[in-house]
Amino acid sequence: MENTVEIRHVTHAYRTPHGPLPVLNDLSLAIPTGAFCAVVGPSGCGKSTLTRLIAGLMKPDQGQVFLHGEPVRGPRNTVGMAFQNPVLLEWRSILDNVILPLEIVAPRMPRRDREARARELLALVGLEGFESKRPSELSGGMRQRASLCRAIVHKPEVLILDEPFGALDAFTREDLWQTMHALRREEPFTTLLITHDLRESIFLADEVVVLSGRPATAQYRMQVPGGTGRVLDDLYTPDAAERLNVLRHQIQIAQGRAEVHA
């Protein structure tokens, strides 16, 4: 199977007033086309840095990032991003917020087609009827749904999600997990999800990668079967408990709080 995202031996350090801060160390990662990869790791270990490298917003000191086998040299319009903060533009309606990427990526696309595309997505995430509302009139969960629509409106090859559900309450978060599955069934895209919620990672992802503490490298990988067919009940099975236990232990190792057992 072809890899949409491939990260090969990436090492990166930030230059700070106190000298270089090594953030990533010989990190390699591959996401097959159409797959969903979740990355978990201690806070401050370099997860957001990883997303910025894939999006072409930064260049690594060493190593390379490939999208569809081509080295990433700068930003490209086949990427979609969503963050913990939905960063919707307050002066635009929800519909116009979702349309925004199309204004950049497809400037010649007729207004009618743009709107149709945005409406289709908004309906898919349950925001039908809210198209003309302002972001401030929506709840946090609804804003995050709109932000997801904006991230995929231009049919990106890679969707990069940096803790998008992190600020939501537990019930809203579970709703959004299911919305995520629904979107994936309708739209084929390759996803990298950064999260600090282990349940979220095994519910959504095909592969979970645990990063070590800073400077981060891929410390542990876990394949999770089931894909978009998973339901919330699956999180309460012995198999899920076992997986969560293993991941939790790996995080403790990454935090330097547990010994590595053979």
Partner: protein, 253 residues
């Protein structure tokens, strides 16, 4: 509801005028010492053409200074908002310049460009009012959260596109906040220059001629005309703010 909104302020104004009239009447102040509201219509009528002409002078020069301040202040704010180095370099200069009481700059400029009264007045209105605009635009731009930039930058959008679509509209509420301050400042600047420079024009000069003749009705008539102009200018800015940054009204509270 609507009648209340109009009636209440009108009653308040009427009460205020009655109080003023009574004060002058009870104290028996003559006209060379104090004016009563009942003297004002006469003053307006006597100098009606002067009021129109001088009012127009004051108005256009204030607006011209303000337009310059908006152009220059915004440009300066953009430069300072996007470049850390420029911000570090220009900020102390700006603060220092702003700390100079403008009343002391007025006579200097009046002397420097003596005779060029229009130029003087526009210049001082501009100098006194660009500062808040420059500061608010630079703060608005430099505090833009990086994620706002990244949603467009990750799509390969140019800096100019990001500026037009995100940075500029996001700064508009701060810009209009500063413009409300600037409009008041520019108006003060115009009037200072009109009063100070010899053979001046505008409402300030009319005020000055009232002062030399101890014509209190004329002086008060000018004050009220100035207040009226100031209010008109202020509400024009408020109306523009409603149109261009009305969305900020309903920000989550």
């Amino acid at each position: 509801m609507n009648i209340r909104k109009i009636a209440v302020p009108l009653v308040a104004i009427a009460l205020f005028l009655a109080f003023w009239e009574a004060l002058v009447w009870i104290n028996g102040w003559p006209r060379y010492k104090m004016a009563a509201p009942s003297d004002l219509p006469q003053a307006y009528w006597r100098f009606r053409w002067l009021f129109l002409e001088m009012g127009w002078q004051t108005l256009w020069r204030t607006v011209a200074g303000l337009i310059l301040a908006v152009i220059f202040g915004t440009a300066l704010g953009v430069v300072m908002g996007f470049s850390r180095t420029m911000r570090d370099a220009l900020y102390p200069l700006l603060v220092g310049f702003n700390a100079i009481p403008k009343a002391t700059v007025v006579p200097i400029i009046a002397l420097m460009f003596v005779g060029q009264h229009d130029f003087n007045t526009v210049l001082i209105a501009f100098l006194i009012s660009f500062f808040p605009i420059a500061v608010s635009v630079s703060i608005g731009l430099s505090t833009l959260e990086p994620e706002y930039r990244d949603i467009l930058r990750s799509l390969g959008a140019s800096k100019l596109t990001i500026f037009w679509k995100i940075a500029l509209p996001k700064t508009l509420p701060e810009f209009f906040g500063a413009l409300k301050v600037a409009v008041t400042l520019a108006f003060i600047g115009t009037n200072l220059m009109e009063i100070v420079s010899p053979h001046g024009r505008g409402l300030g000069a009319l005020f000055d001629s009232g002062r030399t003749n101890s014509d209190y009705p004329l002086m008060f008539a000018v004050l009220i005309a100035l207040a009226f102009l100031g209010i008109v200018l202020y509400y024009i800015v408020v109306a523009l703010e409603r149109i261009f940054a009305g969305w900020a009204d309903r920000a989550p509270g």
